[in-house]
Amino acid sequence: MPSLGADMEDGTLLLWKVHPGDRVKRGDIIAEVGTDKGDIEVEVFEDGVVKKLLVEEGTDVPVGQVLAIIENDETDASPAPEAKAARVKASPVAKKLAEERGLDLHTIHGTGPAGAITRDDVEKATGEKRPARPKTEKRPSGDNLSKMRHAIAVAMARSNREIPHYYLETRIDLKRALDWLAEENKKLPLEDRMLPVVLLLKAVARSLKDVPELNGFWVDDGLQKSEAVHIGFAIALRKGGLVTPAIHDVDQKTLSDIMKALEDLIPRARVGRLRSSEMTDATITVTSLGELGVETVHGVIYPPQVGLVGLGKILEQPWAENGMLGIRPVLSATIAGDHRATDGRRGAQFLDALARYLRDPEKL
């Protein structure tokens, strides 16, 4: 059972989408699991053949329990879905601990970001499980909304308890960016037109390449920077609640690709058809509340991430430049940073880069 959220403890195996003997390849959906954040499609992370399904549909399963055996094309049977990979992701502390104790990292199930092995995982593997983190409240047995509220409550309470946040804010003149976007949209058919948030997401991704300390995870008392930029985009659900699925590799996508990714992601988020990788891979979160009239967003970091970008409403405001006063469309952008991982200087560099990229939209 993959860990699909900061404080997920278990899930319900709802449906198998494969049978023993089926051939699967990386990225295939092999099962659906019910979680506090909705029903999630579980992907497989390597090619192979399904040898055995170990859990019956309808069973509650703790995070970390093996769900199925997938026989690798080259090797013996191995656990799935977070199966043995060519390169094992593990925190530096976990690697050191495993080495000290003579453990092969391939034999340890990772429950950290993107399946990375943490110190806890190594300690569990050696039977030295640390005391469980105190729970803030009893898990509810109510409907999906109350379960989601509970999941959000647990994650946000943990964030406020563990993460020393700092907040920085800047105002960005978006006139050039919006004018450029309007011209681009004139060339496109209606269904391919792009929204301003696409420019903002790409600019965030580019800025994170300049300031990588804000893109990653705080694990085992250390910062794990991520090479990839997977932006968790906060999507409010109409019936209440919030999910933040990852848009993968935003820095490498074109603006049009980002728009398509959002058009794919948002409807699936609303009907509970997200994939496991989308629930686990985000390296930073972007919360955009401008459409609801919010001018400035001061967000709460989703652990173990170390940053959250808040985007407010684009408002026409007086703007002085070169001694002239004019009216410009102005965005309030904020960064919430984990002070254990970065200081205000890095946060300021990030916001400066964001403003710079948005001044030259054609380069995005």
Binding site: A182, K186, L190, R238, L262, I266
Partner: protein
């Protein structure tokens, strides 16, 4: 196309975008995005649905003229009447 026909077409398009929305007792002066809790992605899809229903493509510069049901009828009626 008559005004009631146009209103029905707009509501059909809205239903595609927000299937769970209650389309009775609509305040024609209330912004659609608030009335139906639709975001800018939904709004773009609504414009696509309107184009499919009515054959009218709405330019980005006109988006602000189409915030309420009343706005939409006022903007679209002369255009669909010409079709």
């Amino acid at each position: 196309m008559t005004k009631p026909e146009l209103e029905s077409a707009i509501l059909r398009a809205l239903k595609k975008i927000a299937p769970e929305a209650e389309l009775t007792d609509i305040d024609e002066n209330e912004p659609l995005q608030q009335a139906f809790d639709i975001d800018s992605f939904d709004y773009l899809n609504l414009l696509v649905a309107l184009r499919d229903e009515l054959g009218v493509t709405i330019e980005e510069a006109d988006y602000d003229k189409l915030r309420t049901l009343k706005d939409m009828v006022s903007f679209l009626l002369p255009r669909v009447s010409r079709e």
